[in-house]
Amino acid sequence: MSATDPLDEQTGNRQLTEVARRALDEATGRGATEADAAVSRSQGFSVTVRLGDVETVEYNRDKNLVVNVYFGHRSGSASTSDFSPRAVADTVRAACSIAKYTAEDECAGLADRDRLATEIPELDLEHPWELALDDAIDLARECEHRAREVDPRITNSEGATISTHGGTEAYANTHGFEGLVSGTRHSVSCAVIGEQDGLMQRDFWYSATRDPAELESPRHVGDAAARRTLRRLGARQITTREAPVLFEAPVAASLLSHFSAAARGSSLYRKASFLLDQLGQPVFPAFVRIHEQPHLPKAVGSAPYDNEGVATVNRDLVTDGVLQSYVLDSYSARKLGMQTTGNAGGLRNLTIESGGLDLAGLLKEMDTGLLVTELIGFGVNVVTGDYSRGAAGFWVEHGEIQYPVEEITIAGNLKDMFQRIAEVGNDVDTRGNIRSGSILLENLTIAGA
């Protein structure tokens, strides 16, 4: 079974658009003044091999219709996984029924007509993987086998997983917009356990791309998983102190996700953001540039238009450290008296511009401090910027890793933490929707023994 079935595909895609149209007709038939419909389907499978044998095989096949209706400025929303004409009609009726009870809201409604995408750029997002189940099992086996042969201290495994998925979403609204986007996503991942002096550590690695040809080899992923686990063996707590902290690229993206949450329109009009009234202000040091690249070919976060059909554009959020723009959909933009930034559904390929140093260079630059490779917990308050999270990583002296560290927290306030960014590395992690190199911060509070 492959991620997409080409025979089915054209018929299937036509069906998605037809379901969307039917929902819009049903809504206008019931007196809605505006409506939109998003209709999606996805399919694929994943296989996990643990200790050399198949552990799970999961086939996925999902579909969904979400419809929003507006009666003037009253809105309602409903969804279903059933595309039968009767279910579509029932779903639209449920949305219309809700709109009878919701209050007038002058900001509610579709995106303004003149903001809808008129040209749809080709972003090269669909690369099906013609992968038989047995071949997927072999790849997962190869990945885990490599992880387990690296060192005798690798004593156990959570397994290796190969997954391949594809999907298509149609979006249409009563302003006459109709669009269809298909994409694929594939991954190889592995997590193994090491043991030393009776204590265990676990770590993992993964590769995820839209094009299977660009995946890291299973062997490479297994090797990385084993090495990341091994280096954590013998971890200890350090004493409470203040020190510089270097966020390794895979966790540095989380700092930008907090920025993105605080810059989101819904946080701002609710006055629930530490970035309130910061437009035009130096939120970062002057060397920092943060931008959005929604049209990067093959990238995970790429999209030609947003969840309201508004054209997405390359744009700066932070230039020379100054906050240039918020992250807005039509509703939050109207609430704030601004224009949508094409961010219904979020930011796409949010990127922080890299400096010239790689990870080794950043360690030298830090000299003495903490390299953080894992963060756990949810201790981030977007209203105040207060930040306190569990961490694991390595103590660094003279630019060299000394020993692994665990059972500590790092804490500060994001407003100060953003200002204390000293360097952004060129070791960019491109696996997710946020693209960042490792980030070096001046002093933070580390709590430990």
Partner: protein, 481 residues
């Protein structure tokens, strides 16, 4: 349960023209000599949510989802396929896919399974909670909650209130002929407020619910949520920076029981222990907590958010003693891990939906009360932290390190509750944190019913609870060195 099973068949099988003989044919596709276990999980879910902000209910949504998950298990292998169409061709196709793990085709010879109705006490009512209140009254309740929160203080600037209800019908058919059904209501009401003073903004958040109808939210209860959220936000307006380092911590009763969920709960789930990946693996019978600690996982509490009459594999839930007077007694099991470990299932097999594989999950996890007066416990601390409300937590079950984040906390100075401090994350080591519990209060409380637990991408509703307790030393992730 027979009556529930009939209702579930009518909801789930009849619309697609299915009867029990059709299920025989589906099992025939899946059952080969080396398939140990197979089940079909039919599910219909209807849910709604309503959101109030800026004084008005501005949005609402309604969702209907249904489908069937088909699972085959061979030794340690599981195959899952599912369909959102409950019709025979889709079931047959899913069955063929799910048996791929057994590496053998089915004999396709239909043999009649002798179906027997399961038995379990009913822990909640089966009426659809969404219709337990008129939509107009749902809107009015949220409006009153908003007004009550705002009324508390002019510094309350924003109020966000939401309510949600779920009506779920489940039918589980197993290859051993056991047939089970459940009809599960679930409602919740949440309030978040933002208070502002002199340019400083802080929030407070609370809520509650359970496997009940909306009638559960009496005026007294709902207005209480509003006042509590406002109170927390106002406390936080005065809060100072929290201290950093290892110190004695007193945890309040109720929701701080998230300590147990993270520190030991996940580490005692059967899958991690069967695989030997948990820091608690192979430690049954050992001392893992102070002798004052007895911790249970109880899925049988009527009307509670974490409760289930039967788990998602059709096994009745139970009250499982995990730790008794400090000694590790048992793990939480689903059917597969119980079989592989040679123990009985404990009714902890849960799945987010038909599209997910079941695994061992918690229900309501709490510590039994001790005999200390909570005031005495606070008075015993010279310098430390008193934490009474928490946000989320997380654990690395292999290293045992866990965190949970306080959202309302105070300094303890010379045995007295001192000034409020801002939230901070607490980090500890699961296998030894409970050995440092030196005092357990007599004031057991359960959380108000808003907890959701995530594991391997699957979310399920859970409950936690505990009495006031003192931990002699845990690392507090503050900013003040």
């Amino acid at each position: 349960m027979t009556e529930l099973i009939e209702t579930a068949k009518n909801t789930l099988l009849a619309p697609g023209g299915l009867d029990m003989r059709d299920l025989d044919a589906v099992f025939a596709k899946m059952i080969t000599p080396n398939v140990d276990y197979a089940d079909l999980y039919f599910q219909y879910t209807r849910q709604e949510s309503w959101l109030l902000e800026e004084g008005r209910v501005k949005s609402g949504s309604h969702n209907i989802e249904q489908g069937v998950g088909v699972r085959a298990v061979t030794g340690e292998k599981s195959g899952l396929a599912y369909s959102d169409e409950i019709i025979l061709p889709a079931l047959t196709e899913a069955a063929t896919a799910a048996r791929a793990i057994s590496r053998q085709g089915g004999n396709d010879v239909s043999h009649a399974i002798t179906w027997s109705d399961g038995r379990a006490p009913r822990l909640y009512r089966s009426e659809d909670p969404l219709v337990s209140l008129d939509d107009t009254d749902k809107v009015r309740l949220l409006e009153r909650v908003e007004q009550e929160a705002r009324r508390q203080d002019p510094r309350i600037k924003e109020v966000i209130a939401s309510m949600a209800g779920v009506h779920e019908v489940i039918l589980i058919a197993r290859n051993d002929g056991a047939l089970s059904a459940d009809i599960r209501p679930l409602v919740r009401l949440n309030v978040t407020v933002i208070a502002e003073h002199n340019g400083r903004r802080e929030q407070g958040s609370t809520g509650g619910g359970g496997r009940v109808s909306y009638e559960y939210f009496t005026d007294e209860l709902a207005m209480g949520y509003a006042r509590e959220a406002a109170r927390q936000a106002l406390v936080n307006l005065e809060a100072r920076d929290p201290p950093a380092g290892t110190m004695p911590v007193v945890l309040g009763p109720g929701w701080p029981g998230i300590l147990l969920h993270e520190a030991i709960g996940h580490g005692l789930e059967g899958d991690f222990n069967r695989k030997g990946t948990s820091a608690f693996a192979g430690r049954i019978g050992e001392s893992v907590a102070s002798s004052q600690c007895t911790v249970v996982d109880d899925g049988t509490m009527p009307n509670r958010r974490g409760s289930l009459s039967v788990d998602d594999e059709g096994n009745p839930t139970q009250n499982t003693v995990l730790i008794e007077n400090g000694i590790l007694k048992a793990y939480m099991q689903d059917a597969m891990n119980a079989r592989l470990m040679g123990v009985a299932p404990t009714g902890n097999g849960r799945r987010e939906s038909f599209a997910h594989l079941p695994m061992p999950r918690m229900t309501n996890t709490y510590m039994m009360p001790g005999d200390m007066d909570p005031d005495e416990i606070i008075a015993s601390v010279d310098k430390g932290l008193y934490a009474v409300n928490f946000g989320g937590g997380q654990v690395d079950i292999t290293s045992g390190k866990f965190v949970f984040s306080a959202s309302e906390a105070y300094l303890i100075e010379h045995g007295k509750v001192g000034p409020a401090v801002k939230g901070a994350t607490l980090i500890g080591n699961g296998p030894d944190v409970l050995t440092r519990v030196s005092m357990v209060g007599n004031d057991l409380e359960l959380d108000p019913g808003v907890g959701t637990c995530g594991k391997e991408g699957q979310s399920v509703p859970v409950g936690v609870g505990q009495p006031t307790l003192r931990i002699d030393g845990i690392t507090v992730g503050g900013v003040r060195v």
